[in-house]
């Protein structure tokens, strides 16, 4: 047994690939069989990740257990930011022009409003330092913007976990709510789909929500949502963090 743990520990990153691969597979299975593809597999997988972190110890979650130390490398700041930057390949400035002024406004406003609404609620629920408020506000944008911002401003692991949870709940909420309220917000054309993507920012939630509403609208929403996520990674740890510091 000790031998096995030694080998897994020495090859931490490789074992982490295996562990995450199995988690992804199980999540897709649960998403398909249990929720009939209604909840995005990404949201299930991240919830799964948060769930197993509970069995670890303190600050490092599951990585505190020797065999799982590689999870900290795979999920560390370097690989995380590297893979997030690569998602920008799904966006293009020539495409975004088609969304027009309203599209650009939605991309900025989606971030700013989620950030400040999230931050103000967190303030009234007992968080008082600028780093935590900024990270929670960023989590209200997406589960990517939250941890990227948290790491950049130096927030605690606990607050970063809350920001991921906010982003995951948002993704699931957007997925479920979209088909229900699509008619009320006239979400039946590419123009509104682009504004919807920009306002809600969460690419996984937006894609799954639009797929349940009208498959043809998915690329429009996903494009502005990707832009919005990038905008969040840009604004939250910089200008918005600066503004929060002026108030606190």
């Amino acid at each position: 047994m000790q031998n096995i743990i030694n080998i897994l520990d020495k090859n931490g990153l490789i074992f982490a690939f295996l562990v995450v691969g199995v988690i992804m597979y199980l999540s897709f299975l649960v998403g398909k069989k249990v929720t009939n593809n209604k909840i995005p597999a990404a949201a299930i997988a991240i919830s799964f990740g948060l769930f197993i972190a509970y069995f670890g110890k303190g600050e490092k979650g599951i990585a505190a257990i020797p065999a799982f130390s590689g999870m900290a490398l795979l999920g560390g700041a370097m690989l995380r930011d590297f893979s997030i930057v690569s998602t920008a390949m799904g966006a293009s400035f020539s495409e975004i022009k088609k969304a027009g002024l309203a599209g650009v406004i939605s991309i900025v406003l989606g971030i700013v409003i989620a950030f400040f609404v999230g931050g103000v609620i967190a303030y009234f629920m007992g968080f008082t330092d600028a780093k935590s408020l900024t990270t929670i506000g960023a989590g209200a944008c997406t589960f990517i913007v939250g941890p990227v911002t948290g790491a950049a401003v130096g927030a605690s692991s606990e607050v970063i976990a809350i920001s991921i949870a906010i982003g995951v709940i948002k993704s699931v909420f957007v997925t479920i709510a979209t088909p229900i309220i699509a008619n009320k917000i006239q979400l039946n054309n590419p123009h509104t789909a682009m504004i919807y993507g920009g306002m809600l920012s969460t690419t996984s939630g937006v894609s799954a929500g639009l797929a349940a509403t009208d498959m043809k609208l998915v690329p429009y929403g996903a494009l502005t949502a990707t832009f919005s996520t990038g905008m969040g990674c840009l604004l939250c740890p910089s200008i918005l963090y600066y503004i929060v510091q002026q108030f606190i």
């Binding site: 999870m71 590297f82 690569s86 966006a91 989590g139 917000i185 990674c233 840009l234």
Partner: protein, 120 residues
Amino acid sequence: MKIYGVAILAACYLVGQFIGDWFGRLFDMSGNLGGVGFAMILLILLNDYLNKKKLLVPETEQGILFWSSMYIPVIVAMSATQNVKAALIGGWVALIVAIIATSVCFLLIPLIAKINRIKK
């Protein structure tokens, strides 16, 4: 070669980190200010430019797309290494922030959708 794509991505990432770090010093704040966001903008600009010049071959693109397909698994690994026990104490915060902040954004969609229509 796929490594060209990975190298392009690495270049955008590093330049973004430099810009973020530089901004951090400029405003005298700890940490990296928007480095990931700058890197994303750089990659979008470079992607647009290379596509226009027809310099981006699919093989090169694959090197970048591999990493973008890895981002959810990486986020899963990151979630698994957070201090979830402590975060659970603030569990209500997550639920309330997510629902209210998202609802406000939902409500504003019809208003913003009107902007272009008024201009027309």
